[in-house]
């Protein structure tokens, strides 16, 4: 059996190198090796999306990726999306529209939403509900999450227009 292998990841713009067993799951590597505890473990069978990160440009459930598969990848977690001095529009919008309660699904939700808006900057409510359907929230009933994402979209579009 392969004991440990060298793994290189670029996470939130920083290069990391560490030893890991190939079977280690990306979510645990991020949480335990790199101390990025924003993404969470919710269901472990790809249903809940609490572990969502962006991996090489794709929204991915990191509980279902071996760290070996991710070797060499570029990853963005919630920690790379905004910072205390410069929150991402989505982070502001979720707060403004009460798009979260216990906060456990929120990092995965926001990470997924960044990608959704990147691919579809003008989503309808239906687009948001369909595009966020890989993320389960037990607290909010989604209504305010949808509102938050739509608000962020129009905010981002407004900023874009202003810049033009």
């Amino acid at each position: 059996m392969t004991d440990k292998m060298h793994v290189k990841l670029n996470v939130n713009g920083e290069d990391h190198e560490f030893l890991a067993e190939p079977r280690e799951l990306l979510i645990y590597a991020l949480r335990e090796k790199l101390n990025l505890t924003g993404p969470h473990v919710g269901c472990e069978t790809t249903h809940c999306g609490a572990c969502t990160v962006t991996l090489d440009g794709k929204s991915v459930k990191s509980c279902t990726v071996f760290v070996a598969q991710a070797n060499g990848a570029e990853i963005t977690t919630i920690e790379g999306i905004g910072n205390p001095d410069n929150l991402h529009v989505l982070q502001e919008a979720f707060r403004e529209h009460h798009g979260l309660q216990c906060g456990f699904c929120t990092p995965g939700m926001i990470t997924r939403a960044t990608k959704l808006l990147e691919e579809n900057p003008n989503p309808t409510e239906e687009d948001v509900r369909f595009g966020m359907a890989g993320n389960i929230c037990r607290c909010t009933g989604y209504q305010n999450i949808v509102k938050s994402v739509l608000a962020a979209a129009s905010e981002l579009n407004g900023a874009k227009e202003a810049a033009q």
Binding site: M1, R23, L25, K58, F66, A133
Partner: protein
Amino acid sequence: MIPAKFEYYRPTDLAGVISILEEHGDDARVVAGGHSLIPMMKLRMADVPHLIDIQDVEGLSGISVSDGTVTIGAMTTQAELIDSADLTAAAPILREAALQIADPQVRYMGTIGGNVANGDPGNDMPGLMQCLDASFTLFGPDGERKVPARDFYEAAYMTEREDEEILTAISFAVPNGGYAYEKQKRKIGDYATAAAAVQLVMEGGNCTFASIAMTNLSDTPIWSEAAADALTGTSLDGAAVDAAVEAMLGDIDPTEDNRGPIEFKRHAAATILRRAIARAASRA
């Protein structure tokens, strides 16, 4: 949920893949997107001592439409199927079906090759491939061979693929006429309670061609030739559709699970097929 240890390989060419498969036989498994296999490994329901990651193998991705044939590399993801304008123009049923698979994150990772090769009766693409009369390209120690999708599935997780082979591509003739992929499921992320893939050609109010396949209603996908025959040569009148549904019901063999008892699944299959035929006809 933690998988058992395994030896990890990331070959860069098919020869590399085959040599590992030859060495370890059914102790080795190829992982593409991994979204069927990895949960099974985490639940320790799949024992995979040797895991071959094929993401670096050249030439397994991409969609091409030429000379009336669609060819899709095994590593093409569901998201790529959905986003491909060429594919949607040539065979819009793929996009319609892919959008009904799992959820956005899973569609970024899940590949068409994994979906068809895995042999899970819950997967949507096998039935669709049978509907389209696709053929699967298998590559093994003796080179390449093609197997029709309609001959590929033997039982749940049992396929024509030999342990030393890898599925590299699927191809099918650009379909004509109307199409529909109709699926009933309990929620996003669920397998089908019943799903139907239908392609129809209508000429002068008459059905000149039909192909029908059903998903998750037997331990393999079910291509129902009899159901298609019942439609061919008719105007898709009520009696013809009834006959097609009857024929389909004669071909499926659903089992009871949390989605419901057999009689419900048979009724759902009939309803879903009727809707699929109607929708395909409206587009034909």
